[in-house]
Symmetry: C2
Subunit: 192 residues, 2 copies
DNA sequence: AAAAAGTCTTGATAAATGTCAAGTATAAAT
DNA sequence: ATTTATACTTGACATTTATCAAGACTTTTT
């Protein structure tokens, strides 16, 4: 599984043999069965996660017990609760596996060590952060501008590969609508 | 006006005289009258902006001509369209002044130069990016979880200082509701 | 293979929010 | 200071989306 991560890294930066060995030495491979948790609310997030295979999601649960999906992560995506990781505060989120998955974990201190010792690694992370921020801003804009139907169509366009892998009720919770509404939207679109 | 920026920098990092002079040499002070634009849709964003005084907002306009505010920025806040700045693509957003303002601008290349020559500057920017990303994730979660009234109350709590300075229709567009709905929410709260 | 659990869809109804129109209040321009 | 423009509020009504309940379909477990 480390090879998946290595391929990812090598598609972005050049690494020496020593650097690769250093990265591998701090990488923890974790196998997650479907429904298994990587993080639960009130826990403190201690590791950055990189999805080698499978599918995970991050969500919060409100007062009424309703889940709200804030993020999906599949192969070659990062996942963690950066807020909790950064500040050492309890997380408000759950992260669990939608499919059987392999996640590569790097502890906070090891991650900082890598950033310090491998400048390209630090720059890569920085670039990812910026792209992530752009994507998140884009999502907020879509939320403000689009109707429920438009949001759904936009999701299909933005993530064509994962759209079929996501259970509908989770997709609904990501879009901020109920499963019933999503069901009606889909019906409505199919008759066009 | 450069002093406002310098104070901000010195509250976060230590700088030598030379470094300060370097930063000052690439800083452009721009005065903006109320309603004046810093960026318009279809333009390419070329500078990072730091608000020394005043108040700005960033928004998009949809097909129906309705404005959707994605961001407010007051003293000591950064503002730009990072997506456009990073990729050199035309912006989807407008940035204009809600109040007469002074904005300190640094061009993309100068910003990169500063990051390269002043490591603490780069680290500071990185930290700001991370905090910004956390705040944006938080906003998405609130959008998914909260009712219109809860979003409004949350805004008051999160930004007590600027709540009174923001025209209501812009606040409404930030919350993703109409001015009429905001008006009714306020009335409803005041009678409690 | 059958039973159980969970998921998706559909219908009836309720609640929240939007739209349009008019009036009031406030700020800007002359 | 008066006029003009803009912003805010309120009411009546329309639309969208949520809620609740039931049935159909899938997947998982036994």
């Amino acid at each position: 599984m480390f090879n998946v991560f290595l391929h990812y890294l090598q598609s972005k930066i050049n690494l020496t043999e020593d650097e690769i060995r250093l990265i591998e030495s701090v990488s923890i491979i974790k196998k997650l069965k479907k429904h298994q948790f990587l993080l639960s609310e009130a826990e403190i997030c201690t590791h950055s996660g990189f999805v080698c295979s499978g599918f995970l999601r991050k969500y919060s649960i409100d007062d009424k017990g309703i889940e709200h999906t804030v993020y999906f992560a599949t192969e070659n995506w990062w996942i963690s609760d950066r807020q909790s990781l950064m500040d050492g505060t309890p997380s408000k989120y759950y992260i669990d596996a939608i499919e059987d998955s392999f996640v590569l974990l790097i502890s906070k201190t090891d991650f900082e060590k890598l950033s310090e010792k491998i400048p390209q690694f630090k720059d890569m992370v920085n670039t990812i952060l910026q792209r992530s921020l752009n994507a998140t801003h884009e999502r907020i804009n879509t939320t403000l501008i689009a109707t429920a139907e438009e949001k759904y169509i936009q999701f299909l366009k933005s993530f064509p590969k994962i759209a079929n892998r996501v259970p509908r009720r989770m997709l609904a919770s990501y879009l901020g609508i109920t499963p019933e509404t999503l069901s009606r939207i889909r019906k409505n679109i199919s008759t066009k």
